[in-house]
């Protein structure tokens, strides 16, 4: 089975975000960048599928600048086989442009399965996986928490409000991964050493912009300063009173 995993380089979730001098982007210096946490589940699932099948190939695809190579090496260190970096500058969160570029690359690859993290924790767009699948006319299940593949068919589960949706599909297909699908492995030292030698192909591409422009990036409004109503269980009546008569939420 040939599996593609699309990955993104994003700021660590514990990072403090500072708006840059241009008022449209973040200050990148001092920010730790990581493999998007949701993409880790996609990489892990691909490796598990390959291990179960006893063979196959996992290609990591990423779109961005040379800095993405480090992110891709993390996926290679976990166990992916090779990488394709689509080099382009992405300014605004233009998911359609990114999806078109990925679909153009992926349709040439003859993949049985294409995996994505359900969203990237930077722009939070939750869009590219399903878009790529639609553009490639592939079946796709979003935000999966369980996946079974056998005999060219798949069965996936995804959490919905108050339940779990069960979807069956045929390969080739795409899926986006949710936390809970698996426990991503940490790259072992041997894997990290091997990853340095795995092939990583770079391709210069041009994005087809879809008519969106990020005009400003600002901090969220500060919350009005609150107050401590008291200590211990004896403070509960004062809290109830505040919620009832001041905040009027009870």
């Amino acid at each position: 089975m040939k599996i593609a995993v699309c990955v993104k380089r994003v700021p660590d979730t514990e990072a403090r975000i500072k708006v840059g001098g241009d008022g449209k982007s973040i200050e990148e210096s001092g920010v730790k960048f990581v493999l998007n946490p949701f993409d880790e589940y996609a990489v892990e699932e691909a490796i598990k599928l390959k291990e179960t099948a006893g063979g196959g190939e996992i290609v990591v695809v990423s779109l961005g600048t040379d800095a993405n190579q480090e992110t891709m090496r993390t996926a290679l260190a976990m166990g992916a086989d090779k990488g394709v970096l689509l080099k382009a500058d992405v300014a605004a969160p233009d998911t359609l442009a990114v999806a078109k570029a990925l679909a153009a690359e992926l349709k040439e690859g003859g993949y049985d399965l294409i995996l994505f993290g359900k969203l990237a924790v930077d722009d939070g767009c939750h869009a590219v996986g399903a878009m790529v699948a639609e553009l490639m006319e592939l079946p796709c299940v979003s935000s999966i928490s369980k996946l079974e593949i056998a005999d060219g068919k798949g069965k996936a589960e995804r959490e919905i409000e108050g339940g779990v949706e069960v979807v069956v599909f045929s390969l080739p297909a795409a899926a986006t991964t949710e936390k809970g699908l698996n426990e991503p492995r940490y790259p072992a030292l041997k894997g990290i050493m091997m990853a340095k030698k795995k092939p990583l192909e770079k391709k210069d591409i041009t994005l087809e912009a879809s008519g969106v422009e990020l005009t400003a990036l600002a901090y969220p409004p500060e919350r009005k300063e609150g107050r401590i109503v008291g200590e211990g269980p004896d403070a509960v009546p004062a809290l109830i009173d505040a919620l009832k008569n001041e905040a009027k939420v009870l």
Partner: protein, 321 residues
């Protein structure tokens, strides 16, 4: 006349509350550009459009077929994209269905797509605001392409009382393509109905301050007394105490309820990102310096295991009147 398409959502034929929020968002945008709101409802035959005119729909398009009772991604996307092509914008909700359907509609229409849209205005060009970095920053985005597809998170737009006609019209449903690419075969529901943390108007969330897995019942009991949903911090989900579906934060769900009660949650930056837009925040924590108190409207410094049961008791007194 220009129109905005509002894609509604049903479960077992019942229109979800969040659909009224979608209609409100669409109504606001439509009124700003002198357009109509056309609501699209996809599902099994027998769906009722009662009340949708009042909630803001000038017209209700019904796409009914026995095969469409459950969410079938590919077919829903096809129907919505067909209905959306001549519209100025398509608006839907950021539910499990909407998060999957929105990008599909956009890809089919060749239109830009944004989720988590908090404000939308303008005609011709639409300007939106939405969080990035899980709410650590707010982006303003100008969309010059038309149409566009916009998804709104639950609890961001208050339902309106618009008094529109809401006349229904049937939409032709294309026959399913065989063999189907992907088919939703069932929805597994838990024995006891669970209120989703992202949709609830009251959330009671527990963190590490709840010392043992078995002690989480103090969180559940307070949530039950308030008719709210249970939430959890990343720490307790990673411990395996609670399901990921309850996690609030950057790698969990972003919530914006009327009341958020954080029990024993210190307030890591990734957690605050997921709940800081809640209307009223209450924090209970033993550590008076916990970062959660910086965003809380009301705080109690104390042990969750002592404070939460007392809170539950007092809430019950109120509801018992």
């Amino acid at each position: 006349m220009a129109a905005i398409l509002a894609v509604l959502e049903q479960r077992n034929g019942e229109i979800k509350r969040v659909s009224h929020e979608v209609l409100a968002a669409a109504r606001g945008l439509a009124d700003g550009m002198g357009a109509e709101v056309h609501a699209l409802l996809i599902g099994a035959p027998g769906m009722s459009a009662d009340g949708l005119g009042g909630a803001g729909a000038d017209k209700v398009l019904l796409a009914a077929d026995d095969s469409l009772g459950l969410y079938q991604a590919h077919r829903y996307a096809y129907i919505a994209a067909q209905a959306g092509t001549d519209k100025a914008a398509v608006v839907l909700a950021g539910t499990a269905m909407g998060k999957d359907l929105g990008p599909r509609i956009a890809a089919r229409m060749g239109a830009p797509y944004f989720n988590d849209v908090k404000t939308m205005e303008g005609s011709g060009e639409i300007t939106i605001t939405r969080p990035m970095y899980s709410g650590k920053a707010i982006a303003t985005v100008k969309i010059t392409a038309s149409p566009c597809v916009l998804s709104v998170p639950p609890n961001a737009f208050a339902p309106v009382d618009a008094g529109k006609a809401g006349a229904t019209e049937d939409v032709a449903v294309p026959a399913p393509v065989e063999p189907a690419r992907a088919t939703t075969v069932e929805i597994k529901e838990p024995e006891h109905a669970v209120l989703d943390v992202a949709e609830a108007s009251i959330v009671v969330a527990g963190g590490r301050g709840v010392k043992e897995e078995g002690d989480f019942n103090v969180v559940e009991e307070l949530a039950a007394a308030l008719n709210g949903a249970v939430g959890a911090s990343r720490a307790v989900v990673d411990n395996g105490w609670r399901s990921h579906s309850e996690q609030v934060g950057q790698t969990g769900k972003t919530v914006s309820p009327n009341l958020y009660i954080a029990l024993g949650i210190s307030g890591a930056i990734q957690h605050l990102a997921g709940m800081r837009t809640s209307k009223v925040i209450v924090a209970v924590n033993k550590d008076p310096d916990a970062p959660i108190f910086k965003v809380a409207d009301y705080g109690i410094v104390g042990d969750v295991m002592e404070v939460a049961p007392r809170l539950t008791e007092e809430i019950k007194k109120i509801s018992e009147g």
